[in-house]
Point group: C3
Chain length 368, copies 3
């Protein structure tokens, strides 16, 4: 993990083991940006997520997991409508036995009495050991991480989505889903399959509203760390991915192509990442003029699909992804949802240094 | 349990024992309709509820119970205002150590981004091991059960109330309350007292808005399984119970009577099931014309009560049930509330096959 | 603890030890008024809070604590906007492993069907072992305590703030913060430092809107139990503390002074308790005319601060407490927040008689 400016010491009450396979020293870390993760760490997190999944398949295993963090408590500060991400994180906490609480609505909060949001966060940091936040304001998670670093309780912060900007845990679950799809899913390979770069020679297409979807941005940051991958950005010209992202891709010497024709390109894809039209960000209904149907994956395209194609979608979907495709083996979007729970559990486990206990348990009971 | 069309295999991750005293094979089951329960099962659930209650009376017992399902997680999908049923289910989960989460408000959900509700449910099924749902739409729980049966994660569904139609767990807790009232409550009799049919020769009156109260429908379905019971339907003519229900009662050869005079019939009742006027279902204020006072249980009627009368009410109440009656031994509506928690815990325990562990524990520590 | 009229027997299901160092017999108790606590009890609660804090500093300790009340469940009935107090109580429950549930919004409750609030509470009492309530109506917690006393499930009630009247747990955490500030914080002194009266000879100033802040009232009640303390009430004349409180102070032979000049008095204070303008209670915007800046603690005053001054604030703050003071050692308001969590945990532990287990654990592992 790239050392962040915001890196801090853990609260002194922590007696958890500080040694970890993640490249870090006696410090806590915040999860703020997708690009803070390096391939070695990503692979370790994927591997850990696989182990948690495997351990969860038995009652004994699940009961082992719920003891790991039953002494820690998390605050889910979700000041932006979200069911899916909220439940994914809260489920992840529950998988590890971590207790949590939430703030989801400003109307029941002290905000109505005129409190500054920084004060709210400072108060929350007194009660909890971790803050997971989703916020409409870009850069807010980073701001909070820096503020807490200067306080007497510098607890870790996880960015669960901030503004149009970043959604790093979504990027991690997306890449985990791609890893599983590209590398086979035999449990016995857990520790071996992540050693290579499974992205070399693979074509990944991003389709739809690439300008305003933060999940595309965050995942692109991660994929650029894997040499030999090829990216297709397929979207209406008005909604193409930002030039800053294309420059980033280019600077990392990743092959890419920008186009606006999905139908002719489906057959060459190893993964297709669908996105919906984000018209809630319209300034004046400008996206009503766009023919989004051209950027929809319809069932008549199924005959062109590669056998091992992986179709992803961050959900919620509208019409851009035909429900008739749901039963195809190429449809990975439901798995993707469940992968998110395991990946977030892996991330939280790593932050609190119980990853080693999970590896030990896995090797003792589940590997062959 | 009558085999439902929607019967499915449990998710493969389940390693719980499949053997059970409930008549089922290697399948999960959904709780969708009151009439799916047969007398043998009802008695077993009542018996199990009594055991959970008894075990809960000691700290050691409670701590045993909370280990039973601490490896499982439930989603309470309550898209309809409800405090009581929500808290009853969530308390039941807690009694068994089951973790849960909830969706109660569409405004904080992905619905605002235009997601189809089926997709929402599919997503929830990725995170949780059980969905308990309350929904304004008739038949929705059944629809969900069928949809999940065709998915890769066919988790069980419990109907916590759908539309004007069905509220099967309310019916179970109602019948449990009647069982306890008609059979004596000595704990030592737990396993014996449910062997007979305590309803033979008893008169149960339903009073009030019988047309629009789903609890009356659901309980009637269950009571018709007990030969020798006599039902009185006491209501304003405009709000009489539907003809479909009367035909059902008749078809099952249950003696019944329809009338609109409560006061003259109180004395012959062994149980009176009061209901409030459901005027929120009015189309044009039509129930304002009704003199509902005639269908109220007032304290001046107490002198006519049988000694062993049981007064039930699904609550909330208004004026149809005088608060002056609250302190009478015949008032069973507070017990009824608590019975709901035990019955729902019994049902969840049965679904996850921990009923045998409860029976074993009971016989080891609590029976004589 | 002064015997209250509302004192009741615990529900028969409780098998917890009834012996306790708190002066009570075989009865449950409600926490309704600040003045119900006597110095001996306050000191024991402070001491217990310190122990819980110390035990929480290790993983083993935290895991001991979460076993204490994992067989009990609390209802947080918070029918008034509150983030801070809600999270403080829910965190306290979690520290002790207590499960909880909440009602925070009338719109999702049965209230919409016309239920009387007393019925709602009676229903809640069937599901839970403790009710913690925050309510806009003065005296409501006391009313509920009395009502439950006459029911078949007289569970304990904690007042988490009712109307403009009382906020007893805030007073307890405030006095706990003062105790820690005045007595030194060496953990090894936990049991010794509360033996003396650390308030003798100390000056505590209350500043701001003293008329409408219930925290000031509740804390004043407690401080009057400590001979030798001196109180300053510094506020705009329009917002001075009520005459009933001044009479109470006087009757208890506590030295006090009423004034409206903060700046000249800062230097003589050992503790300053700041409060915000409670203009939400304005009848006709009357507080707009007040120059509240005169009752603000600004950074230019820091040079007058005593070395051991403790600045408290119940939060949320506005401009009356300069954020530039946040980093001073005299700023105790963040500690105060965290103290609230420990104090509330101590209170709940005492109510359920697990205080002795905590003391035993502390002496076995943490004292020297």
């Amino acid at each position: 993990m790239r050392t962040m400016e915001s890196e801090v010491s853990l609260p002194s009450s922590s007696t958890a083991r500080r040694v970890s396979t993640l490249n870090r020293n006696d410090k806590a870390y915040h999860v703020v940006l997708a690009q803070q993760f390096e391939p070695g760490e990503i692979e370790q997190l994927c591997c850990l997520a696989d182990m948690i999944r495997a351990i969860s398949s038995s009652r004994q295993g699940t009961q082992f997991l719920v003891t790991l963090l039953n002494h820690r408590r998390a605050m889910l500060y979700f000041i932006q409508p979200s069911t899916r991400t909220f439940l994914s994180f809260s489920s992840s906490c529950q998988v590890l036995g971590m207790r949590y609480n939430s703030v989801r609505d400003r109307s029941t909060s002290s905000e109505v009495k005129g409190e500054a949001e920084d004060d709210t966060i400072r108060v929350l940091s007194q009660y909890f050991d971790l803050i997971i936040m989703r916020h409409p304001q870009e850069g807010f998670a980073e701001h909070v991480a820096n503020m807490l670093n200067q306080s007497t309780r510098p607890i870790p912060v996880i960015n669960g989505g901030s503004g149009k900007d970043q959604h790093p845990t979504q990027a991690l679950l997306d890449i985990y889903t791609l890893f599983r799809s590209f590398s086979g899913t035999q449990e016995s390979l857990i520790e071996r399959r992540y050693l290579q770069n499974p992205f070399a020679g693979k074509t990944v297409a991003f389709v739809g509203d690439l300008q305003r979807g933060r999940t595309v941005r965050s995942l692109t940051y991660l994929l650029c760390k894997y040499p030999g991958i090829r990216l297709l950005f397929v979207s209406p010209p008005e909604l193409q991915i930002g030039d800053d992202m294309l420059e980033y891709v280019n600077r990392n010497q990743i092959e890419f192509e920008v186009c606006d024709d999905l139908r002719s390109r489906v057959g060459e894809c190893d993964a297709i990442y669908m996105t919906r039209l984000q018209d809630e960000h319209d300034l004046a209904g400008e996206s009503k003029k766009i023919d989004y149907y051209k950027f929809s994956l319809t069932s008549d395209l199924a005959s062109s699909f590669k056998h091992n194609l992986a179709i992803l979608h961050p959900l919620p979907r509208r019409h851009e992804l035909d429900t008739k495709l749901d039963t195809l083996p190429q449809a990975k979007y439901w798995d993707q949802v469940r992968n998110g729970m395991w990946m977030r559990a892996a991330l939280i486990a790593s932050i609190f240094n119980v990853d080693i206990a999970i590896r030990d348990h896995y090797h003792a009971y589940y590997s062959y």
